[in-house]
């Protein structure tokens, strides 16, 4: 029994609200699992068509973000040739993971922002931190209304002279770091990325190799992985979005005999 210095208080009432916990009023049927509530409003019940991990690495002069080219439909590897990393403008690249439909929805708004930025014609171009804070606010707001956009976004780019890399998750939690990963990448890619990035600033070649190794491990160990990936590389010279294939090595399969 909890010790109140030896004094035991009897509860004042039974079957009523308990301080600190959620109280289900008896006449309301809140247990219903229906996607549509009594007012006809539908909430996000979970991701349907999904992209898996994204990996991002900041190097001394820029940022690389990569993600495989697969969008899955549950257990089905449905769309094989989908870029999940994008050039937003000359300063910003974006990687998405999570529900692809939610991403297409928000991409429209991002495109509108870029267009109005261009139309303002004031020689001020949107910077990565602006998009990063905008996404944080949108995703946090949606989460606070219990209707999240099921997304994990990685924003990278050149904030003036300095490279920038940040992550916003489904609940609107955002943080910046030298290495970022989403989905299974947090378990599989991040330990490898941290090992190298903690030794000191990376150069472009090492960052490139790190991305390659991470995508290789993700293909080997993530059930929703895929051997083809696209990567966006941004530095002072501009943005390059390119396609790559994982170097698969299955030699060890020959040596496994028995079980």
């Amino acid at each position: 029994m909890m010790s109140n210095n030896g004094v035991n208080f009897a509860p004042f009432w039974h079957n009523g609200p308990a301080p600190g916990s959620f109280y289900n009023f008896p006449q309301n049927n809140i247990k219903s699992n229906s996607a549509i509530d009594e007012y006809g409003f539908q909430r996000n019940g979970g991701p349907i068509t999904t992209g898996t991990s994204i990996v991002g690495v900041k190097y001394d002069k820029g940022v690389i973000i990569a993600g495989d080219k697969l969008v899955s439909y549950g257990n089905l590897a449905r769309y094989h040739n989908v870029d999940r990393v994008f050039k937003i403008n000359e300063n910003i690249i974006l990687g998405m993971s999570g529900d692809y439909a939610d991403f297409q929805f928000i991409k429209q708004y991002i495109d509108e922002i870029i267009l109005s930025d261009f139309s303002a014609d004031d020689r001020i171009v949107l910077k990565p931190k602006d998009l990063y804070t905008w996404l944080t606010r949108v995703l946090y707001n949606r989460r606070s209304r219990f209707n999240p956009l099921w997304l994990d976004m990685v924003v990278g780019g050149m904030q003036g002279e300095e490279p920038f890399l940040g992550h916003i998750n489904i609940r609107g939690r955002s943080y910046t770091n030298d290495v970022i990963s989403t989905g299974y990448g947090t378990h599989l890619a991040l330990p490898l990325l941290r090992e190298y990035s903690e030794k000191g600033p990376l150069n472009e070649e090492t960052a490139q190799q790190l991305i390659q190794k991470s995508m290789e491990v993700l293909f080997y160990r993530d059930c929703r992985g895929y051997p083809k990936y696209s990567q966006a590389n941004i530095n002072a010279n501009g943005v390059t979005v390119s396609d790559h294939e994982v170097k698969q090595n299955w030699d060890l399969a020959l040596s496994i005999k028995g079980y």
């Binding site: 080997y220 160990r221 060890l252």
Partner: protein, 274 residues
């Protein structure tokens, strides 16, 4: 349940009779006690002449670190070692079982060493009979007349033979290192460094693993357990000298009194020196 009395003597393995009652208790609000888990990183790697097993040294109960320096690699025979992950009690019980069974097997077959596959098969059969209720996983590494072997046996009884393997909560982090750096026919030193790197990755990136890296090397004619191969977490070093110097407390006055003692009784006993 009168009709069950006749079959009581024949019952082997786990009795699942209480499962329905337990489920009922949980539904009625009973909170079962937490098992001590080892929340671990263990890994094993085969190299040219043998096997290297590695583990971290942290035991956890829920979110509390119970033991900072525990053992997770156990010797079963001179040529067979296991590394375990899962509930600590189950692991200890199974290690006892494995040790006695393998020793009896060796004496009964009257041979110098036990083949690794013997332990793997008996262990997986045992686990299967208990339906996964024995909640631990083992990496079994050893060298016998057929060379070095590394096997994984899971709590439900399935087994796998692999060139490299990791288990435990830190297995993802450790597997990343193995996937990028393992190659066939490594030397012993390369294998030890690789395993240490993999466990370090688990210790640093996983909250259920910590403190030190313990290694075990099994070769054809010898085996070696190295505790504390790498120390990753430890107590900090004191930078300054915190001892209190003589004269810190000022002395105002000094009084010396002699304590008078009276001799009341004297007893002399002879000591036997032989």
């Amino acid at each position: 349940m009168l009709n069950n009395f006749a079959t009581l003597d024949e019952e082997r393995g786990f009795s699942f009779r209480n499962c329905k009652r337990n489920a009922q208790l949980v539904a009625n609000g009973f909170i079962p006690p937490k098992a001590i888990k080892t929340g671990t990183t263990i890994c094993g790697v085969t190299y040219k002449d043998g096997v290297v097993l590695g583990c971290d040294t942290r035991t956890t109960i829920g979110n509390i670190i119970w033991e900072k320096k525990c053992e997770k690699i156990y010797k079963i025979q001179n040529n067979i070692f296991v590394a375990g992950a899962g509930t600590a009690a189950d692991m200890d019980g199974m290690v006892k079982w494995m040790r006695s069974n393998m020793e009896l097997h060796r004496l009964n077959t009257n041979r110098k060493i036990v083949p690794v596959i013997t332990l793997v098969t008996t262990l997986s059969h045992h686990f299967f009979r208990y339906g996964g209720a024995i909640s631990c996983v083992f990496l079994i590494g050893g060298v016998d007349n057929n060379g070095p072997h590394l096997h994984v046996v899971y709590k439900h009884g399935s087994k796998m033979k692999l060139p490299y393997a990791t288990m435990g909560s830190g297995s993802y982090a450790a597997m990343t290192i193995l996937e990028t750096r393992w190659k066939p026919d490594m030397t012993e030193q390369e294998a030890k460094e690789l395993v240490a790197d993999a466990i370090t990755s688990g210790v640093v990136n996983d909250l259920g693993s910590g403190t030190n890296v313990n290694l075990c090397v099994i070769r054809k004619s010898s085996s070696e357990k190295i505790n504390g191969y790498r120390e990753i977490c430890g107590n900090g070093k004191r930078i300054l000298d915190y001892s209190i110097k003589h004269g810190t407390t000022g002395i105002i006055s000094e009084t010396i009194k002699k304590i008078e003692l009276d001799v009341i009784e004297e007893q002399i006993e002879k000591m036997e020196v032989e």
